[in-house]
Every structure is written in C-alpha cells, then in structure tokens.
C-alpha cells in the first residue's frame, strides 16, 4: 500500500498544491482514503494531518471508509427522478439487499445518490467508481447488477454502456462559426495584448457562468494587477443541476475553449493555465488531454507560441472531486491549491489575488469560447445578436418534460415561450431557468426573456409539465443545497439544512402555516447574510414558489393547529428493528386514526 502511495506522490512531484489530485488517485487505486493513508500522505507532503483529513472529508467523491469495490451513485437531479431513477435505485438496492448509502456486508457494493451529473438530456444517469453511465433502464440496471454480482472488472463492461451522446438541437453564432486552430491567437498577436483586451471589452461579452461580469473588464484588471505571475483558469466545474452545455462545449468544441484560454493568457500575460474539470465528466479527460497534446505539437501551446518570444503558455487539467461550491471562483482556486473548497473573503478578488495570491482570470467555458471568436472576428461578431446589456447568444441546456432535450443556442432576449416551442414542451406548469439557484417561472411568465436584464441564466432550462409536483421539485433542490453547502458560514450551513427539513415535511404533508412563514424567513436570512452565491441563492426557488405556486403548498398543509413534523409510527422503526418486533402492538398508526 505504501509503495502505491509512493508512486502516486511521485506522479504529483510530492506537491501539496496537488493534494486533491493525489487523493483522487488514492481513491482510484484503493477505493477509499483510510486514516493510515491520511497520516502517510500528511507526513510525505509535510502537511498537518488535520489539513489532509479536512480535504478528504470535504469532497463528496472521497470516501474515508470502505465504500465497496463497486461504488454506485445515482444522479439525483429532479430530471433523473422524473425519468425514473428512484425506482431503478430501489430495484438495485433490493437486488443487493443493501440499504441506501451503505455498503453490502460482503464489501462488494455500495449504492447511493450524488448531485446532478450533467447528463440530464440522457438520464437517469449514474456513476460507478466515478465512471458515468447514462440512459439507465431496467434492462441496463439488470446487466449492471449482474456484472457487479459476477465481479467483472469495470474495464470489461460493454463500452456502449458508457457512451455519452451529444444532442445539439439549435446552433447560432457560437456553435456554427468555424475555427481554424490558431486563428484567434494570430489575431490577438497581430493586435497586441492591450488592443485584444479593448476588443473583448468593446464586445460587451459578459460571463456565461452566471454572475455576468464583463469579461473584458476582468481581463483588463488582471492585466493591470502587479504580480510575480499571472494565471488563466477555465471554470469547467459545471455543477448547477440541469446544466450540461459546458460538457458539450468541451466534448465538441475543445479546441475553441483552449484557443480562448490561450488568447486570455496572451492578453493578461499568463504563462500557466488550468482547466478545472468537474469530476462527473471523467470521460472528457482523455480527449481533452489529446487535444492539448495536438495543440502543443502544432505550436499553439508551449514556448514562444507562434514564434512570439516570451509568449509561453501551457494548460493543465485539474479534476474536481464532487463539490458544487467549487464553481464559485475563489473556492475553485482554493481547490486548485489542494484545499477545502471554501470561498474566500473578497475583496481582494482573484483578478488581483487569485491562484497563489497572484492575479488570476477565472472564466467559464462558454465565455472563453466566445472570447476566442470576438478576438478573431471583432467586437461586432458578438453584438449582432442579443440585447443592449446582453450581447450575443446563450447556450441553454434544456431538459425535463420536453420532446427534444439537449443544447439550444439562442440569441439573448429569446422568450421562454420560444424555447418551449423549439424543444417541444406541452402543458407546461413551470420552468426553472438557471437551475435551482435561478428563477422558477410559472405558466403565466412564458413571455419573459432570457437575458441579464430579465431572466439571467447560467444555462439550465428545466421544464415541468402539469403532472409534476412542485413541492417534490423544491424538496429536491433543497436537498441539493443542503448537500452542497460548504458549511463555512452560519446562514447557509444551517439555513440549507432547515430548508431541507421544512420542504421535506411540507412535501410529505406534515407542514403547517408556520412552516411557510419560516421557509420564507430562512430564505431571506440566507439571501441577506450568506458568504457566497450558493447560500445567497439557495432559497430562491422556495421564495419564487411561495409567491407563484401558493396553492401547491396550501393543498398539502395539515389542518391541525399543531402538527407533528414527522411520522410518529415511522420514527419507531429503529426500535422495532432492534427488538425484532413488527406486530400490531409495536405500531402506533391504528390508535392515531380516530
């Protein structure tokens, strides 16, 4: 075991900054991170042991005890549930006689859930030992269970099981403009760094990851910031449930994304870049590495790019380990530095004090792809589409109750109605734009427009028809935030947990009027005082629903003045299990019904 660790550590040059990558390799090879492994790693990396244990304990994909030889995690986004994931998981739990989240007695398998894996257009999906399997059906679950029973190594499973499809349903500016690799870099070199920054500024390109900060201003601030080194980071930690557009950009437009990163590096004077890839997309790693290798061979990365002395730049891929909060740029940087992904206090912002406290540009995948074309074709390339404050197009990830889920690129300003018509949605009850942290729209709001001025979106567009229960949707979102809160600040750490409890009670019919008031109150506390965007937006869906879907709550409220917030009889289940009793006398439900 110790020899394995030596090999892993050597592969990462014993660099504590690579701790997250090191722990990923440990899990890959050992299945989990044992207390002894933590001690050894801490000694060899000269880190306090508690620091290593803290990092191991932070990320969802770092089991710290034996989680079985096959670790099955069902994607638990609402769209997976709508496609039947709960029933499939139940079948599998029964097949292995194991409880949710626990390891089977023979140590063979554990079956649990994980946050949205970004395969909403081909769900339900799961991860087995980190590898993604989409389009689950009873048949697929049957063959997967059989292979686990037979202890077939994952490498021998049929390759088509792991095939990820690309569904691009509508192309606009970004997805239809061809790129000759190196053309944007040449354009940037011809213009010089200052003019390149000016051009991106003039295009009014705004960040496509959610916050919408003007990209050119970010580059300008980073370029102007003093530092020993500058860095460019591509944020590919696409964790917002219902979002999968970056996955498609990285699978089908990788050259363009790296071109954008290289142009950004030229503009701000960076020598090193990172692509922070979410752990749920391991199937992208090898193709992305291959693209990087080609670009190095073509002289588009490395020393003196395109013959320009001093224009040295290369890109490393860092893979995350299951933490939505790392999509927040300063938390992402912490994770890149091998730490727990806790958002930093800001200011200072990453543009002046980012990776290793040096000036760092962090841009979303889509933003960088667009920046490449802006530099190549000029500021007007983007501005021919969109609205005054939202220049260009937006790539949407459409899923849920639609005939054609997939990627839709539309000009900013498109109405919700237009998107619904394109993707073939009928009897629409609600649309969640921008994911759980975004906006929940009712059927009367289909005239609203997707743009920063009205309904901003990081990319998710989840559709719910009349057959869906909004409270179950909200409960799913609340569970997501409670699971993903980093726990740094009081309002988010406790607020997301309270919100989950209240919505779970309400969805099951144990809620009272007081819960409705408390739900709104908790959401407001989170919004007002959270440390970062995760907590500030975690109550958005509940607040929207309380305003727009009041009858859905009212229908489910208990009629009594005082209601128990739990099922009394079910709470006795552990006692029945311990005593081995299950007779009438061991149940409360009969006496309760009077």
């Amino acid at each position: 075991m110790s020899r394995d660790l030596s090999a892993i550590l050597a592969r990462h040059q014993h660099d504590p900054l690579r701790l997250v990558q090191i722990l990923r390799d440990v899990v890959e090879e050992h299945g989990f991170i044992s207390p002894g492994t933590i001690t050894t790693l801490a000694e060899r990396l000269s880190l306090p042991r508690g620091r290593v244990e803290g990092v191991a304990g932070f990320y969802a994909f770092f089991p710290t005890e034996n989680a079985g030889r096959y670790r099955v995690l069902f994607s638990d986004n609402i769209t997976d549930r709508m496609a039947g994931s709960v029933e499939l998981r139940q079948r599998m739990l029964e097949a292995f006689q194991v409880r949710d989240g626990e390891v089977s007695r023979d140590g063979l398998v554990s079956i649990g859930t994980t946050s949205c894996t970004g395969l909403c257009d081909q769900g339900p999906a799961m991860l087995v030992n980190g590898r993604a399997i989409p389009r689950l059906t009873r048949a697929r679950i049957g063959s997967i269970s059989a292979m686990i029973h037979g202890q077939a190594p994952l490498d021998t499973w049929p390759a088509n099981l792991f095939d990820i499809h690309t569904h691009i349903e509508r192309k606009d500016l970004l997805l239809s403009t061809p790129l000759a690799a190196g053309a944007a870099i040449d354009a940037a070199i011809a213009r010089g760094p200052d003019a390149t920054v000016a051009q991106v500024k003039a295009s009014n390109l705004r960040g496509r990851g959610g916050a919408g900060f003007t990209t050119g201003v970010k580059w300008e601030m980073c370029r102007a910031a003093p530092g020993e080194a500058h860095y460019v980071v591509c944020n590919a930690d696409e964790g917002e449930p219902g979002t999968f557009k970056d996955r498609v950009l990285l699978s089908d437009y990788a050259d363009l994304v790296f071109e954008g990163m290289t142009v950004a590096a030229f503009a701000v004077g960076a020598k090193r870049g990172f692509l922070y890839l979410r752990a749920e997309y391991p199937f992208l790693l090898a193709p992305l590495e291959a693209t990087l290798a080609e670009r190095r061979k073509a002289g588009l990365l490395g020393k003196s790019i395109r013959g320009v002395a001093d224009f040295d730049f290369d890109i490393e891929i860092h893979v995350g380990a299951g933490a939505y909060v790392c999509g927040e740029e300063s938390a992402l940087i912490e994770s890149l530095e091998g730490k727990r992904g806790i958002p930093r206090n800001r200011p200072p912002y990453p543009v002046t004090s980012g990776y290793l406290q040096q000036p760092t540009v962090v841009n979303n995948v889509e933003t960088l792809a667009k920046a490449a074309f802006v530099v190549m074709h000029g500021a007007d390339w983007l501005r021919v589409r969109g609205t005054g404050r939202s220049a260009g197009t937006k790539v949407l990830s459409v899923s849920g109750d639609v005939a054609r889920p997939g990627i839709y690129e539309l000009p900013f300003g498109a109405t919700v109605r237009e998107v619904l018509d394109l993707c073939g949605a009928t009897d629409v009850q609600a649309v969640q734009v921008g994911g759980p942290s975004g906006m929940l729209l009712s059927r009367s709001e289909q005239h609203r427009r997707i743009m920063f001025e009205d309904v901003p979106s990081a990319g998710a567009f989840m559709v719910f028809d009349d057959s869906r229960d909004i409270l179950q949707v909200l409960e799913n979102f609340a569970s997501f935030f409670a699971h993903e809160s980093c726990g740094f600040c009081t309002p988010c750490r406790v607020g997301t947990a309270l919100q989950r409890r209240m919505l779970s009670a309400l969805a099951k019919g144990y809620g009272t009027r007081r819960d409705l008031k408390d739900l709104a109150r908790v959401a407001k506390v989170m919004k007002a005082s959270s440390h970062c965007g995760l907590g500030a937006t975690a109550g958005n869906a509940a607040l929207d629903a309380l305003e727009k879907f009041k009858p859905a709550f009212e229908k489910r409220l208990g009629t009594l003045e005082v209601m128990p917030t739990f099922d009394l009889d079910r709470s006795l289940a552990p006692a029945r299990e311990v005593t081995g009793r299950d007779d009438d006398e061991a149940h409360l439900s009969h006496e309760e019904e009077e």
């Binding site: 304990g57 726990g487 600040c489 309270l498 005082s529």
Partner: protein, 256 residues
C-alpha cells in the same frame, strides 16, 4: 482631539472614526460601539463566518468584520431588520448544536449565550437538530465537548498561528462540518495540545474546557453575569471590573 483628522463613517447616525485599513467592526469596537460577533477575535485576522456582525451599507448587507471602513459610509447596525437577522442567526447556531445552558460549565462566560441575551433571543424557534457528537475526554488536562461547537475556527487559528501546533482542523462540509483534532486516533490525547496553549483560551463557547476547574467561579459571578457583553466587548467592563472587587482567581482566563 486627534479624531478630528481621522476619516469617519456613520453607524446608526453616530460618527465612528477609523484608521485606514480598519474594518467596520474593528473601528466600531474601538470607538466603543458594540456590534454583535462570535468568530471575530481582536488578536486574529477577521474571518467572517458567523455573520452575526452583518450590517447594512447603502442597502447591501455585508459582514462588518471583513468589510473595510470607508469615509462617508452610512452603516445600519441596530435597526429592527438587522437585529432580527442576527436573532435568527443565533437561533440557527442554537438549533444546530446541543446547547443546554443550565448544565454547561461555560454558562455565564459563554459568548453565544451572552449575545443571545443581548439580542433578546427568547427561544430557539426552529426545531433543534440534536446532532450526535461524542465528547473527547482522552486528554489528561482538557475536555472537548463538541456539542457546543459553533465552528468559529478560533481554536484552529490560535493553534496554527500562535502555538504552531495545528492541533485543530475542520472536516466534513455543510451541516456535517465538524471540528477534528490532529491525530490518526482522532483523540485529543494524541495531539500536542498543552494547557498553556493559546488555543485553550479562545473558544467563545464551552468546547475546550480545563479539567478539574469546573464551577470554580459560581454561576452568577461569571464574566457576562457581571457585565453585559456589549460592555465587555468594547472594553468598558474590564475597566469597571478592575476597579471593583478582584475575582477569586485573579485575572480570569475564561472566555478571553
């Protein structure tokens, strides 16, 4: 006075002078104006996690401990809206852990309890989580009662920055985030913690306790029993205390 040359901001209508580089909370406390706080400690770099010191500046709510004071800022602190927010945050902290004041050795010198009294928090309001958090009594001189931990990270910071021992750290995330100690066994006895350490004296609540010292100061005569926290925190009470009768143990180390 020298204050005339200093830049100022206004807090609830009162002028507060500040030195450039000071945060709103630091300047307010120095000027004798209390802002409720828990994770802030004057000897450590502001951290900004408890959010109790949240104030409103020009319509935006921010943590005053990590926000630099700016000339001319209009800061709202003890408004009904902000005080309500703080009450909720204190309730959040109470329901998250297991806080049973009547049986707690820290009662009377506990900042969480004192802040709750100051804000007039009368009840927890939300359903308690009742987490299961076993205590660690392995160390010969120190008891760790994790039930009361509010995750302010002061012990972590003190042990790392002052003691150079890194005895404490955090693991888990979200509601499962918890304090850990620097040992493979997970036991405090297997760390290098010593009673003289700075980490022993910074816990605002009753997690880190000296053994064999329980109830040496009777309830009713403890730090915040004698003076409300809004006086202690701005240094008013210490002066009064010094001129009053000496405490039985000399200068108290509790809840420094």
């Amino acid at each position: 006075m020298a204050g005339a040359e200093k830049p100022m901001f206004a807090m609830d209508g009162n002028d507060v002078p500040f030195e450039p580089g000071q945060t709103i909370l630091q300047a307010a406390l120095a000027a004798g104006r209390y802002v409720p706080h828990l994770c802030f400690h004057p000897e450590f770099k502001p951290h900004g996690s408890c959010k109790l010191c949240t104030v409103k500046i020009n319509g935006r709510t921010v943590a005053s401990c990590t926000t630099l004071a700016k000339q001319g800022d209009e800061v709202e602190s003890e408004t009904p809206e902000i005080q309500d927010l703080r009450r909720n945050l204190v309730q959040f902290l109470f329901v998250e852990g297991n806080h049973f004041c009547p049986s707690c050795e820290k009662s009377g010198s506990c900042m969480l309890q004192a802040v709750a009294y100051d804000l007039g928090v009368m009840a927890e309001h939300f359903s308690p989580f009742f987490p299961s958090r076993p205590i660690d009594a392995s160390h010969p001189d120190v008891l760790l009662d994790f039930n009361r931990c509010i995750l302010c990270e002061l012990c972590i910071r003190a042990s790392a920055e002052v003691d150079g021992k890194n005895v404490f750290a955090l693991s888990g995330r979200g509601a499962k985030k918890h304090l850990i100690v620097n040992a493979e066994s997970g036991r405090l006895a297997d760390t290098r913690l010593a009673v003289e350490d700075k980490a022993m004296d910074v816990c605002p609540v009753g997690v880190i306790l000296r053994k064999r010292r329980g109830f040496q100061v009777p309830i009713g005569e403890r730090k915040y029993d004698q003076h409300p926290i809004r006086e202690v925190a701005v240094g008013k009470a210490t002066a009064r205390h010094a001129s009053g009768k000496p405490s039985p143990q000399g200068p108290s180390k509790e809840g420094a």
